[in-house]
Every structure is written in structure tokens, then in C-alpha cells.
Symmetry: C2
Subunit: 396 residues, 2 copies
Amino acid sequence: MNAAGTGSPPVRVDVGEREERQLAWAYLSRVVLGPCPALTALIDSVGVREAARAVREHALPQVLRDATARRRDVDTAARDLETIHARGGRLVTPDDAEWPAWRLLGLAQLLPGRDPDGAVPLVLWVRGERNLSEFTERALAVVGARCSTGYGDRIAGEIAGELAARGWTIVSGAAFGIDGIAHRAALTVGGATIAVLACGADRPYPAGHDRLIARIAEAGLVVSEYPPGTPARKHHFLARNRLIGSLADGVLVVEAGMRSGARNTVKWARRIGRPALAVPGSVDSAASAGCHRMIRDGEAVLVTGTADVLAEVAPLHLPCTAGSESSGDGRPSGVAAQILAALPDTGGRWPHEIAAATGMESAEVRAALVALDLAGVAARSDAGWFRSDRAEKGGE
Amino acid sequence: MNAAGTGSPPVRVDVGEREERQLAWAYLSRVVLGPCPALTALIDSVGVREAARAVREHALPQVLRDATARRRDVDTAARDLETIHARGGRLVTPDDAEWPAWRLLGLAQLLPGRDPDGAVPLVLWVRGERNLSEFTERALAVVGARCSTGYGDRIAGEIAGELAARGWTIVSGAAFGIDGIAHRAALTVGGATIAVLACGADRPYPAGHDRLIARIAEAGLVVSEYPPGTPARKHHFLARNRLIGSLADGVLVVEAGMRSGARNTVKWARRIGRPALAVPGSVDSAASAGCHRMIRDGEAVLVTGTADVLAEVAPLHLPCTAGSESSGDGRPSGVAAQILAALPDTGGRWPHEIAAATGMESAEVRAALVALDLAGVAARSDAGWFRSDRAEKGGE
């Protein structure tokens, strides 16, 4: 589970070895073109360079022979890395501290047999200067109808703009309609936004949004699990939707027709434990019909504005369950205790701040915070992480 | 529990005795002006004439002394009965076959200590020619904002009109806004409607709806638990709302502000086990804010039109729980078995039709159907009552 685990810090490698490993990840990314649980398992088991060698030589179990046969002889890894670098980007892999392992925990816990499309991504091709993990510490996905109405556009713009102004990152899919409005609202207030694409990160899709995607790559991040040049294919959109849900604390749908892709994003969000929210509208509006159906069926919570959204995705106290990251007397120990000591009782502190204060790696801090949250001794508000009530009781 | 029970048929009395009992009920109705659980208990115990004598003579336990002291010397019973008769009305009491005991079961099961305002009504003053029990066999309450918008008016009119045209009775409070629209929509399609007032049934309240209330009294029913001439008081409206919920199969709210009385009606509906439904609208509309809040908090189910409403209030198969109205081998016996035999396997039959076919009293049929439903062997659809799946299995 190295690829998705949060318990172990990222692998440290020297420059030459790092380059070799990047080439191996890039090669494998083009061979499988998307998530491949069997390949991830092989890499976890033998390492990425040995896995790449096995794929090249077809020395594989049957399940991987089929998945890799078609493109195993295509090695454009060096050119792909050059292409993404030339576009101000990079290849982010589980080797990197930037790898958002804590964000991908939900996907890592899905059963590959039940959710073949729900696997942890192999790699992420990223354009933009921001650190992907830090950029998603506090993030909301805002998605919705391509054929949105003036009503939906206005509500999406208001909520995305208000949350971006409060320091939230707006994650969306760069599509026409609600997606584009949400990205633009974040950019307008000088806020953070991430576009997750169903094609290579170097390709503007849809073409009509080429300028918008260029602006997002400058001010925020453009993310894809497909190597440069990959065209958008139908099944890529469904896989992309799971990443939108994974990279955010919750998914907000502002307008969705009955067959909208936003409903697929909500399905993924629910499967990986993220709250799904939907904005109601006139019962006459076909653009609200999908939202109404999801609310009625209990798939999404009705929200009417920013305050409702914050109440759902950043509650003052997250639900607590008994945890395992503690010593015999119920108190956290080791790294967890250090991080807990660095948390304020009131207000909040973000993982990268705690990392700076304690000298730990951000990835390590994030993983520990998730464990402390599960143990009920830390919680997160709109202002950051803090010690929760049960921590105080536990300390008495 | 005679006043609210469904197990025993209404009391049979001769004409002279009936008149005396009517006078006693009318006298007590004016003494307590609304529901009075302690008085209902006394009547259940000693009978209505003996209870009236005890009230007149102040020969009462302390709890009833206080509740009756103020008006025990006021006896306008004969005049009140004349007034209601002159207005085409009558006093309906638990003595009468028309008394909607099955509709009031939910109220009868509330704890008087916890819900002092939730008691079974003492009597109902009714104007209109229709039989109250038959008229509420298939009924939907449609309530909402007094300051409704064009949007809410249109949706309320559509749903109330469509349901009334299908044979449903529309129950509401004759207020301005959504209430009035719902009544008018039912009248327009020649359908059934009931206005439940917070003042005497002879008084038009609000005054601006005097013509509407007169039309309802002609074509449908105007109902009040207060004697003629009683003015509408603030606490009457809250008590009235519980009756609106009781007399219907569910409560639909079309537009409600955050402080709307419709939310009180929904509270009662939920307390007595009726589904509560709400129509969403623009998040900008203050007239939809109460609906959105109720949907968000899980107090009401989101509905977008008539089909959604029918799915909630007239499901093809009602939820089943183990019942007690059966003989040792699990099959219904006696009256219940007779009524079950009169039910169709497909389609449906209404209680008054079953009563006509079997020669039983409608009230008896209704009470038995509720028990058969609880036992899981009968269920109700939009087309009437039918034998449910479990009945067929039980008969094998």
C-alpha cells in the first residue's frame, strides 16, 4: 500500500535515481493510460523500476499482460516529461512529498473487484506552481450542468467566489457551464482553483476554454492522470470525476440535469466518504432536476449558500469514532502526540504550518492528523485543525 | 379511550337522548374552547351527560376545576346548535358514525403530558353536506406561506388541482396565499376540499376570504373545534394545525418563510406519523427558505410535483409491521377476516364501498383496515385498499 498509504514518508532518492524512477512512472503511465490497480499492486511489491522492466519484458501475471500488451512497446517517457516541463508542469508520483496520499485514502480503501474504475491514480501530471497537497488542504469541488441557467451561474459564482475568498480551493472539471463559472469565480477573487482534466494536462479541453485553462495553470493547478497529448475519451470523464471528489472535502452540485455527469461525481464522493451537497431551484427547471432527485433520494444534502456549505464540509467538530493511534492509556503517542501538542485549543492550524513548526514532513503531519481525527482527539474547522473536546477529556 | 378509539362502534342512542347528549357536548365545547385531555378522559370514564353535570356543579378533580372554572356558568349550547344548523352545519361528536376516529388515532397516541396541545378534539363543528369521515378517506393537506409568490401559487394550484381531479380531498386552513390557492384549485376542478378554521365555523376568517369559505361550505366542508362565534386567537392556530395534519394522509408545504405556520403543521404531521413534503424553489426566495430548511434538516421530503407527492402519500405498498389483529395461526379472524375477504387483490376499494358491500358500518371498516394494514395483510394505493403480498403468502 506504499502508493496510497499515509503511514510511511515518501521515498528519498538521489538525483540520478529520481530521474530513472520518473522515467519508469512516465512509461507506465502511458502504457496503462489511467488507473490500474494490478499495476499499482505490482509497484507496491517490487518497486517502480522493476515493475517497468517486467512490463517491457512481458514477464507478468496474466491480469497485467492484458492490461499492458497494447502499449508496452511505446516508450515516450523522456519526451512526455519534456513536454510537461515545457508547459510549466511536472509528473507527481507517490515518490514525491507533494503526492496527495491523504486525499487518496478513500480510493485506496475501495475494493478493486467492486470498483475497477475507483483505483488510486498511478501518477498525476500537473501544471502550475502550487504544491498539490498543500493546495488541497481545504478544498471544495463545485460541479454541475454544462447547460446551466443564469440562476445556476449566479449561485455557483457566489458560493465559489465566497469560499475562494475565505481560502478554500475550488476544484472542478473545466467544462462549460457551472465548472467554468466556479473556476472563474475563484480566479476573480484571487483565490485558488484546480482543474482536473479527462485529457492530457497540456491539452485544452474543451477547446473553448483554452484561455481559462491557461489562466488556471498560471494561478492554480491543472491536473490529469493521463500523459501529455492524451485525448479526452468517454471513460476518462468518469475516472476524472472520482479524482475531483477525492481532491476535495466535499462536492457541491449547482444545477444538474437528470443525466448530468455531476451525479456521477456525487456517486464517487459518497463512495469515498465525502459529503455531497446540491442547490435546489425551481421545480420547472430541467437544470435543477438532477439536484432535486439527489436531494430527494438522500444522495445529496440541500444547501442554499456558503454558510450551509461550510456547515457540511467544515463542521466545528467532525464525527468521532474510536481510533487505534494511541498508547494503552488512550492517549496518542510518538509522532501523533507531538502533532497533537502543536495543535491549538481554539482557532486552528493548517498541516503545512504544523510541519514548519515541528520540523516534520507535511505528508507525515497530514497522515497523523487523519489518524488523530479518527481517534476523536483532533478536528478541523474552517480555520484549520485544533484539539477537540475528547482530547481535553482524555488529558484530564 | 372511547372518544378516540376505533375498536368499538359509535354509541347508538334514541332521538331524545341524542339531543341531550348533543347539548352536553356543545356545552362542554364552549366551556373548554378547544382540546382538553382531562375532560376527554372524564367523558370516557363517566359519559358526556354525567361529565357535563359534574362540570356545572364543579364536582371535579383540581385539574378540571381550573380548566372549566372560567366558563362553566355559560350555557349557550341550544343557541350554538341553532346557529350552526342555521349555517348548514352540525356538531359532530364521538357519538356519531361520521366522527373521524381513525384519522385521530395519531393524536390519541400522543402523551398528554408531553403534548398538552396535541389532544384529540372534544368535538368538531362542521358546515357542509359531506360526511367528514368519508371525505377524508384520501386527503392531502396543502399549506404554505401567506405571502406566497407567483411561483408558489402556480405549483400549489397545479398539485392541488391534479390531486383533487384524481379524487383526493385537499385540506387546508383558508388563509391567504398558498392555503387559498389550494382550496380554489380543488373547487375549480369540481374536487373536494376542507377548510379547518381557528375560529368558529360560522365566522369567515380571514374576512377577505368570506366568499371562498362560503363556497367551501357549499361544495366541501368547513371544520372547527370551536363553537360558533369564537374569534380566532393565536393559540387556536397552532391547535388548528394539528387538525389539518390529522385529517390528511400527508402534509405538503408549498413555500414557507423561516417562521411560517406551515412549519408548525409539519411538526404536528411528523409527530402523528404523517409524511411531510416540501417543494423547493430558488435559494434567493425568502418564501422558499422554510421549505429548504425543512428538507435540509430531514423534516420534509423534497417533492417536485404530483407524481412525487403520490409516491410519498400513497405508496403501492405501505410499510408492514407485525400486528395483533389475528388468530393464533397468523390469519385475521372475525370482522377483520370478513373485510379482508371483501378486498380486491388488484386495484382497490374504499372503506365506504366495503361498508356498502358487507353491510358493516364505515367506521368499523376503517378501524379494521388500519389494523389489517398494521398486520401487513392489507395496504392502500391511490385506487383504494387491497390485499397485500403478505396476505397472499399468509393464505397459502
